[in-house]
């Protein structure tokens, strides 16, 4: 059988739709820029230059896409199971913490990275357990628990970073991730390229899980029609647990990528600035990618490119940071809009 691609069988239509929506977004953003007195062509030029203009810009952009793909998978697997899981944010923090903690061990290269990834994924998954327990046994909505857990994770990891993982020589940061547990830089001389390949592999694994395994099928069934799933004998708690644990692990891995798969800084700083917002941005990426692993890869690269353009636009086109954020928001919103519409309409019908 043909593998079910985005939207169940047709890959071209959603791509066309997204491309059109993106053009619309750039158009509206451009109008706003003109109104505000900036040159839209120059702005967009630098936006893309920042992402694609030079080899290091490209690798940086790819590095940005990798954690976004992973956190988008968290949200997407939740949606597929009928959840609105926004816990990726906090799971990224604990994942990053786990990956750094691995550097206290001395292991050969390769194995050491594997160990760090396992710790990061496990930490992220563990962070999802309370959400599961509260939802499965107390019926507490996952939105509430994941928001609370995000804050818990923030302050928890902050404390761990300052107290347990602190660099004795530089107390404002944690110890650096050991070179043996960093992503390898065999492609284009950057750790980010292998981090991206890793994220793509995880996305592919999610795809296989969701569409080729009975357990993934059960997860999707519960997400689409919990009553029919129950009547067929599926215990709804199992897919709930899978979606939350797999999602947590993926977000934890995103945290690992942020400290072991980016050019700099290979550590966490007080304030956790280099791991903030990846969870929330992942929601946008998931929506742009239609909550489909393959769509998410494309969407992650798109989002990564936009984000990488930030600093260059500020620098060269002299557009203030806030306005760039607004423009970016417009573009992302228009691209996500069709999917948002479909989701919202769907929930209205039920």
């Amino acid at each position: 059988m043909k593998l079910p691609l985005i939207g169940g069988g047709r890959v071209l239509a959603p791509l066309e739709e997204s491309a059109f929506a993106a053009l619309m977004g750039f158009f509206f953003g451009g109008i706003l820029l003109v109104v505000l007195g900036y040159n839209p062509i120059l702005t967009y030029y630098y936006m893309f230059y920042g992402g694609l203009g030079s080899l290091s810009n490209v690798t940086d952009m790819l590095g940005n896409a990798a954690p976004l793909i992973l956190t988008a998978l968290t949200f997407a697997v939740g949606v597929r199971a009928g959840l609105f899981n926004i816990g990726a944010e906090g799971q990224v923090y604990v994942g990053a913490g786990g990956a750094i903690y691995a550097s206290y061990y001395f292991l050969p290269a390769g194995i050491h990275l594997g160990f760090a990834l396992v710790l990061a994924g496990a930490a992220g998954a563990l962070m999802a357990v309370p959400t599961y327990l509260l939802k499965a046994y107390r019926g507490v909505n996952e939105v509430i628990t994941t928001i609370m857990l995000n804050w818990t994770a923030y302050f928890g990891v902050l404390w761990v970073a300052i107290v347990l993982l602190a660099d004795p020589a530089r107390p404002e940061k944690t110890i650096s991730v050991a070179p043996t547990s960093r992503f390898p830089d065999f492609l284009l001389g950057s750790v980010s390229t292998s981090a991206l390949l890793f994220a793509i592999a995880v996305a592919a694994a999610f795809y296989v899980y969701l569409w080729l395994t009975p357990s993934g099928y059960e997860l999707r069934s519960v997400g689409l029609n919990p009553e029919a799933a129950r009547f067929s004998g599926i215990n709804p708690r199992k897919p709930l647990l899978s979606a939350l644990l797999l999602g947590g692990a993926s977000a934890g891995l995103a945290g690992a990528v942020q400290v072991a798969g980016r050019t700099t800084p290979f550590a966490l700083y007080t304030g956790l600035s280099n791991v903030l917002n990846y969870g929330y941005n992942g929601i946008g990426v998931a929506l742009i990618g239609r909550n489909h692993p393959l769509g998410i890869i494309v969407a992650g690269l798109f989002f990564g490119t936009l984000q990488a353009g930030f600093s260059t636009v500020q620098l060269y086109a002299r557009v203030p940071f806030e306005i760039i954020q607004v423009i970016e928001g417009i573009i992302i919103f228009t691209v996500a809009a069709p999917e948002l519409y479909r989701r919202f309409r769907g929930s209205l019908k039920k």
Binding site: M1, N225, R230, F231, G233
Partner: protein, 507 residues
């Protein structure tokens, strides 16, 4: 234009082509006069729903005109139609499930359901309900109501909005004889008030009994418009399906075999701890159809759920081939030899967004026959299985990749039934198996049940359709207020006696 005052609704040359190219209506001239109950008859897919959605402002016609009370109108949305006094009750309910019946009825009006005037409104709705004989408990959440009661909420919702043209899309498919009778009584009252009812159905008996005039649709075209006095079942059926229909299925005599399925002193509770099934016992043997008749909402739904393993048993036991099934999941019960056909195929039987391949393995996703390398699902094997089922059970669909939503009701039900029969079960529970299906599909599903009986299976048929019970069953019992009453061999049960039992009268 003919005298505009008499014709409350009139369409001229109405055509509807759906965006996907489906030609649902072609040149439809349709009209209803003041103070009549007008039957709109046709098989599933004939275009009845499409026509009524156009009349109620939900869909726009591709071409053609609509006249309401003599005036040419262009309705853009349902509120336009409501403004003109046209209201529609949908075939598939549009209720907010966690809301109470009362909240659903006033939803969308400017009444605040917790405000000052709520009490009065509730009282007036209760009056209205009583006046037209549509009893509902206004404070219960809609999801806790049986389908029949949900239907009544829908009708009340429209009556509350004071419509004078009421369109009912297959309203009786979830009502029973008694309820249908009551519904018609209230419709007759509305008629006396000069209102007009457009009554959609595919049941000949109903149009013959209650409608003043009848329009028949077939494949999007009007194939006839006749008054009650001219109508006969044969002419109507022929207009509807374009060929002569077999009205009686043959139930050949059979000697039942050993007992396969047993319920002993079963008691079930609802969420509030009220007994919804009381001390119920029955036995089903091989080669036998046990028919449970009864007005819906008398515990049938709960009984079927308990049998399927998705409702806790408070007291008593359910045994399949001697093994207790209590506490087992429905997949285990299926594997032990049960085929479970749920009463609500769209909600419980199918996942409408999924395609046929995915739907035919629902509940069988871990079966060895579909196992690929490692523990994956071998979709190639599934595809073969789907194609076989489609061929064997005459399922009409674009292909195995079509989403279940795109199939007609009859074909959706064939998917469910074929899936359940494909594992060659010893015991089949069929709850409301032909509800909402057209004549041909109904005949087909009933034939499948009879064939299963002929193949030595034990069948438990739960149906609100008295004809169906009488046509198929060897043993008949009636559910009334959670009890199974008047159990007896089919030969000893007359239509009248069952009708009385359904009303709780043990003659």
């Amino acid at each position: 234009m003919a005298s505009p005052t008499k014709e409350l609704v009139k369409t001229s040359n109405l055509t509807k082509t759906y965006p996907d190219g489906t030609q649902a209506l072609t040149g439809v001239d349709f009209s209803v006069t003041k103070g009549e109950i007008h039957g709109l008859l046709g098989e599933n897919g004939a275009g009845k729903t499409t026509l009524s959605k156009i009349l109620s402002g939900i869909l726009k016609p591709t071409s053609g005109e609509i006249y309401i009370k003599g005036n040419l109108v262009r309705m853009k949305r349902p509120s336009d139609a409501l403004g003109l006094g046209i209201g529609m009750v949908h075939q598939h309910f549009a209720l907010v499930r966690p809301f109470s019946a009362f909240e659903n009825i006033v939803l969308g009006t400017d009444l605040n359901p917790t405000g000052e005037r709520a009490k009065e409104a509730k009282a007036s709705i209760a009056d209205l309900a009583k006046g037209v004989g549509l009893q509902v408990t206004l404070d219960s959440p809609v999801e806790s109501l049986a389908l029949g009661a949900q239907q009544r909420v829908e009708i009340l919702k429209m009556l509350y909005r004071n419509v004078d043209i009421l369109i009912l899309d297959e309203p009786t498919s979830s009502l029973t004889i008694k309820e249908t009778g009551e519904l018609f009584k209230s419709l007759l009252k509305l008629k006396e008030e000069g209102k007009c009812v457009i009554f959609i159905t595919h049941k000949l008996r109903e149009v013959m009994d209650f409608c003043d005039s009848i329009t028949v649709l077939r494949q999007g075209k009007v194939t006839g418009r006749i008054s009650k006095s001219e109508a006969s079942p044969i002419t109507l059926a022929t207009m509807m399906v374009g060929r002569t229909v077999e009205f009686e299925l043959k139930r050949s005599p059979m000697t039942p075999g050993d007992e396969v399925f047993t319920i002993d002193n079963l008691t079930l509770l609802d969420r509030e701890g009220k007994e919804v099934v009381k001390d119920l016992s029955l036995k089903v043997r091989r080669g036998e159809i046990f028919g449970i008749a009864g007005v819906e909402g008398n515990g049938q739904t709960e009984l079927a759920e308990a049998i399927a393993g998705i409702r806790r048993v408070a007291k008593g036991s359910i045994r399949l081939k001697g093994t207790e099934t209590e506490g087992k999941s429905s997949s285990v019960i299926r594997r032990h030899g049960a085929g479970l056909i749920p009463e609500d195929r769209r909600q419980m039987g199918l996942i409408l967004e999924m395609n046929l391949d995915e739907n035919v393995i629902l509940g069988k996703q871990r079966d060895l026959q579909f196992r690929g390398s490692l523990t994956s699902i071998a979709w190639r094997k599934v595809r073969q299985f789907t194609s076989d089922l489609m061929k064997k059970f005459e399922i009409t669909a674009k292909g195995p990749e079509s989403p279940a939503r795109s199939l007609s009701g009859g074909n959706q039900q064939k998917v469910v039934v074929s899936r359940e029969l494909s594992s060659d079960p010893d015991f089949i529970v069929a709850a409301q198996p032909t509800r909402g299906l057209d004549v041909a599909a109904t005949e087909y599903i009933r034939k499948l049940l009879l064939d299963s009986r002929g193949g030595g299976k034990a069948v438990l048929l739960i149906s609100a359709e008295l004809d169906e019970i009488l046509q198929l069953s060897d043993q008949i019992g009636v559910m009334y207020e959670g009890r199974l009453i008047g159990v007896g061999a089919a030969e000893t049960m007359s239509r009248e006696r069952i009708g009385l039992l359904m009303g709780g009268i043990v003659a």
